[in-house]
């Protein structure tokens, strides 16, 4: 049963990532779509980790954020910066993704565990 919920969650996450990327790509902003979905995913990750439940809905949510966020596309975009010699952009994109991701994850965790006390 866990697999069913996790799988459906992942599929939905992937579809939302795909649609977000398509919308942003129409304005040549595909990169910001990856950044946005990754950051939203990190925030939700902190929240559901703080809930500390094993219900099927939570399993589905973990599936969802796994499908929503992506490490492979994130690095492919950085590799594209490398091939076009935009080294400064690699630095900015990586620093902002990793640090803001951690901050949002921590924020989601702390706010949720604070509220549920």
């Amino acid at each position: 049963m866990n697999y069913l919920y996790f799988g459906i969650g992942t599929g939905l996450g992937a579809v939302i990532r795909f649609l977000t990327t398509n919308i942003f790509k129409q304005n040549n902003l595909g990169l910001y779509a990856t950044f946005l979905v990754n950051m939203v995913g990190c925030l939700i990750a902190g929240i559901i980790f703080a809930l500390n439940q094993n219900s099927l809905v939570i399993v589905g949510m973990f599936g969802f954020i796994g499908g929503l966020t992506t490490f492979s596309t994130f690095n492919a975009e950085n590799a594209n910066f490398y091939f076009s010699y935009q080294f400064k952009n690699i630095f900015i994109y990586m620093l902002s993704s990793y640090s803001l991701g951690l901050i949002l994850c921590g924020l989601g965790f702390l706010l949720t565990s604070g509220l549920s006390k």
Binding site: Y3, T10, A14, L68, T69, F71, A79, C105
Partner: protein, 126 residues
């Protein structure tokens, strides 16, 4: 139609990650997420720029499998959550090692995957 295909390929990518991490658990260091992410970082550009076309997929289906399957196989939020968990248990050294490996190896492997694809494409044209 595209959305349905993305849903299916994304679902399988996520389930593959889920089943791997279900069976192999390292207690102190989130090695599995790291290995899954790094393999995906290498394989996505290699798949998009070489293997997908070689197998005979059209650009559309190569993209659908790349975005859906490999994109969902890897996870950014899971990696960040792993790092956060290391911080919570005061494993600061492991936290920095983990982040360092993700940052450096992720980028290097993506570049290598792209390079290998370009290299093989050039050889094919000779």
């Amino acid at each position: 139609m595209n959305i349905f295909l993305i849903f299916i390929s994304g679902m399988f990518g996520g389930l593959l990650r889920y089943s791997i991490s279900d069976y192999i658990i390292f207690s102190s260091f989130p090695l599995i997420t790291l290995l899954i992410n790094l393999s995906g970082a290498f394989f996505l550009p290699f798949w998009t720029d070489y293997l997908g076309a070689k197998i005979g997929f059209s650009e559309k289906y190569t993209k659908i499998l790349g975005t859906g399957f490999i994109g969902s196989f890897t996870t950014f939020s899971g990696m960040i959550l792993d790092s956060y968990k290391l911080l919570q248990v005061h494993q600061t050294n492991l936290f920095f090692i983990y982040l360092f490996l993700n940052v450096v190896c992720g980028l290097v492997l993506a570049i290598l995957g792209d390079n290998l694809a370009n290299h093989l494409n050039e050889r094919k044209q000779l």
